[in-house]
Every structure is written in C-alpha cells, then in structure tokens.
C-alpha cells in the first residue's frame, strides 16, 4: 500500500465541512493521499503522542503548548480562527445583555441558570474553564451540568433543558440553520477572551521513525498558503463565513 499522510482533527472541524474543499485543492498538486482521522481533541493529541498520525489540527492552545514543550510536536502553524459564543434561550437575552462575556457568566452563575458544560477536556471545554477562572467564579451545583458529550450533542441537551452553553460558531450555526435547535446567541461578540484558534502541529519525526516528515511539511505549507487561506475565507454555510484565515488571503 502506498504511503498516506494522516492527520487527526476534531469533530467540529470535520462537521463544518471545511475539509472537503481543502483536501480537494491539496490533491490537485500532490500525489500522497491524505486521510483525516476524525476524533476528539484529547484523542487527537494522544494519537500524536503515539506517532500514529503525522499531523494534528486542534484548537486547544494550552494543551498544544504542552504538547510542543514536551517535544511531541514541532512547527505549529495557526491556520484559522473564529470566536466562541454563548447560546441560550431567547427569553433571557434582554436580561443578560452585557458588553463583556464575563458579565454574562456572572449573571448566569448568580441566578443559577442552567448551564451545560462539555466536561470532556476538549478545546471548547478548556476555554470554558478558562472563562470561569478569569471571572473568578466557581460553577457548582444542580444548575451546572457536566455532559461529557461532543459539541453537537451538548447543544441538543442545552436545547432540551433550556440551558446556556459555550459553543464554537461553526457547530452552533450548522445546528441553528438546520433547525435542530432554537437557542439564540446570547453573547456573540469578538471578545478576545472567546478567541478560538485552530493550529496545525507536525509530529516530531525524531520521536517516531515512521512519520512522513516531508509530506507533512508540504501539507503544513499548503494550509498556510494563499490558496488554502482563500478557501477558508470563502468557505460559507448559508452565506455565513465560519472561519477567518490566520493570514490574509490575497485574491488574484
């Protein structure tokens, strides 16, 4: 069997649909087939540690930092970003209106409004924990449910339970557009605290002899290339852009 490049990525990236146009473009110029392994952030990092994939595309800066510090990964490249948002029942929107995401969280915690936390060490979950910490809140009690589910299923749980939730924009919009949920954006501003960055990390070839280093470099270079960045910029679901390219796309 021919060599194949494997990269592990999270469900939210896969479910957004961005992979298809990117891989299609890559295929035009490169022979090596690319296999996207779809899994959770934690698992993706674990696969990287074991050297079972050549690259990982994740959105957990802190974990990625440790990953590189421990020399499991090299050559981290920011690929794209967007902002997390807080979704919840529409009726609370006026009450929770605030300029700052921390203010919103404070009100939710004070009133003990139902909150769904993913509780799965995913990028989103880590971001949520970070936010509570910055807001100096310690969410605990019956109102705070730790679902242990993926983003999509957690959104559905929030819908069923009329609860609030921190979610990535792509998954939220895709569920909203397909009428799976009626939760509205409670806080959706470009608050730097809500930044959601996707980065590509190559697995350190010195740790594992089987890593396809050359091909990985090519793929990594491709994703930050103008062509790929433009695909990211122009990728839209129902006329709404889901991701911002990390570097600028210069249209020809």
């Amino acid at each position: 069997e021919a060599k194949r490049l494997k990269f592990a990525t999270t469900t939210s990236v896969a479910n957004s649909g961005i992979l298809s146009p990117l891989l299609f473009e890559f295929k035009k110029k490169h022979k090596t087939p690319v296999h996207a392994i779809i899994t959770g952030t934690g698992k993706a990092l674990e696969m990287g540690k074991h050297g079972d994939v050549d690259l990982i595309l994740t959105h957990a800066p802190e974990l990625e930092h440790i990953f590189i510090k421990k020399k499991y990964g090299i050559n981290k490249k920011k690929i794209m970003f967007n902002y997390f948002l807080i979704a919840g029942p529409l009726s609370y929107k006026p009450f929770l209106k605030n300029e700052n995401v921390l203010g919103v969280l404070e009100k939710i915690a004070k009133r003990k409004l139902k909150w769904i936390s993913r509780g799965d060490n995913s990028g989103t979950h880590i971001k949520e924990m970070e936010l509570w910490k910055i807001a100096r809140l310690n969410p605990r009690g019956k109102w705070y449910l730790s679902s242990g589910l993926g983003m999509g299923r957690s959104l559905i749980m929030a819908e069923e339970k009329n609860a609030f939730i921190l979610t990535d924009r792509g998954t939220y919009l895709s569920f909203l557009h397909r009428n799976k949920i009626s939760l509205r954006i409670i806080f959706g501003q470009k608050d730097p605290n809500l930044l959601n960055e996707y980065s590509l990390i190559q697995i350190n070839p010195k740790k594992h002899k089987y890593i396809l280093h050359e091909e990985a470099v090519k793929f990594s270079d491709f994703l930050v290339s103008n062509a790929a960045q433009c695909i990211i910029k122009n990728f839209k679901v129902k006329q709404v852009a889901l991701f911002n390219p990390a570097s600028t796309c210069i249209s020809k």
Binding site: L145, S147, G148, L149, M157
Partner: protein, 228 residues
C-alpha cells in the same frame, strides 16, 4: 501499550479509594442494566417461547425481522427513543429525556431482540416430548410452558446473562438518552467513552476492568443460583 498495565493499576486504586464518580457510575450501570434485563426478559422469553412452540402464519417473517433487529446500532435506538422523548416529540411531556429511566427504555429495546432470538433458538432445541409429556400428565398450557423453560433453565439463564452483558456494555443509548450527566446519568461505559475521547486511555481501561468485574460477578452469582 503501557496504558494497559497502567489501566490495571488505576482500576485497583480507584476501587480501593472508593472513588465517588466511579462508585456512582457503577451504581447507575448496575441499576439500569438489571432493570432493563429483567424487563426485557419478562417480555422477550414469552415471545421467544411462543415463536419456538406454536406455528402460525407469518411466523418465519417475524423470526427473520427479530433477527434483523439484532443489527440495530445502539445509536439508532438512541435516536429513535430520543425522537419520542424529546420536548418536540410525542412523549416530551414526560420529561424523561436525560434520566436513567430514558436509558432503561432504550436498553429494553436493545435487549428484547437479543432475548427473543436466543430464547427462541434455545427453546426450539428442547425435545418435543417435554411438552407432550407435560400435557399427558395433566398440565395446562401455562404449566407445560413453565416445564419447558425449567428443562432448559441454565440455557435461559445464559441468555439473560448475555443480555445483561450486552446492555451494560453498550454506549450509544446511554450517551444519547442519558446524556452522560456527571453524577446522574453517567454510567461506566459513558465514562469510558468520555475518558477515551479525552485521550485518557489508561483510565478508560481501568473503568472497563471495573465493568467487567461487575459482569463477572453476575456470572458467578448465576453459578451459585445453579447450585440451589
């Protein structure tokens, strides 16, 4: 590889330290599994008996369909029951979604085809003379059925145990209908799934050792029951 041995050590330390989360998850697993198995057996064994013993029109089709239902993925059962229990669904008013009861409902649906198919095959192998003998000694239809079941009680017990194993090791239903809510609907299997998505493989293995111990104990208890 190392996570296999790590898992065993983790499992031991969890058990020894009576880890709260693990205890609650194990408790939920056992409760939900036992109730679902009992309900499915009470429904499934009579159906299996009926299919095995009586002949009627459309019986073959019924058997084939039940056998096919063995292939219903747990996620799909989860989806279907979700459709009923969801707030938008016809049983939304019950507010059962994301409760242990919802898991039980799904598990019963999972277990019924298993119990029906295997009790059917088992009862079919019973000597036809058992029922004839029962009748010729003055038994009613019901007593004769009971006599047949008694003749293969160990095999039926094996079927029930298999259903229990299946039910307590599945993930899709518990995840979809229970919601994996910590301390409430988190079972050992959904905890395992969660740990595995977190990349905490050793901890996942540890939890599954605890799960297997529960199933092992159920099997051993059945052995004691046989001795009685």
């Amino acid at each position: 590889m190392g996570f296999l041995s790590d898992g065993i050590i983790d499992a031991l330390s969890l058990i020894i330290n009576f880890d709260q989360m693990v205890l609650r998850a194990a408790n939920t697993t056992i409760q939900v599994g036992v109730i679902a198995t009992v309900v499915a057996s009470l429904i499934g064994i009579p159906i299996g008996f009926f299919l095995a013993v009586f002949s009627f029109k459309g019986k073959k089709i019924l058997v084939v369909l039940t056998q096919t239902l063995l292939g219903l993925p747990t996620v799909v059962i989860g989806l279907i029951v979700y459709g009923f229990l969801s707030r938008r669904g016809p049983l939304g008013f019950t507010d059962l979604l994301f409760t242990p009861t919802a898991i039980v409902i799904g598990l019963v649906i999972l277990a019924i085809p298993i119990v029906v198919v295997f009790s059917y095959t088992t009862i079919k192998t019973v000597d036809l003379r058992v029922r004839e003998t029962a009748f010729s000694l003055g038994s009613s239809e019901l007593k004769a059925a009971w006599t047949v079941i008694r003749e293969i009680r160990y095999e039926i017990l094996a079927v029930i145990l298999a259903a229990f194993s299946r039910v307590s090791s599945e993930i899709g239903i518990a995840l979809m209908l229970g919601g994996n809510i910590k301390g409430f609907t988190r079972t050992l299997t959904t905890a395992i799934a969660l740990e595995s998505t977190k990349g905490e493989f050793a901890f996942g293995i540890a939890l599954s050792i605890i799960l297997l111990s529960i199933i092992l104990i159920a099997n051993l208890l059945s052995f004691i029951f046989r001795k009685l």
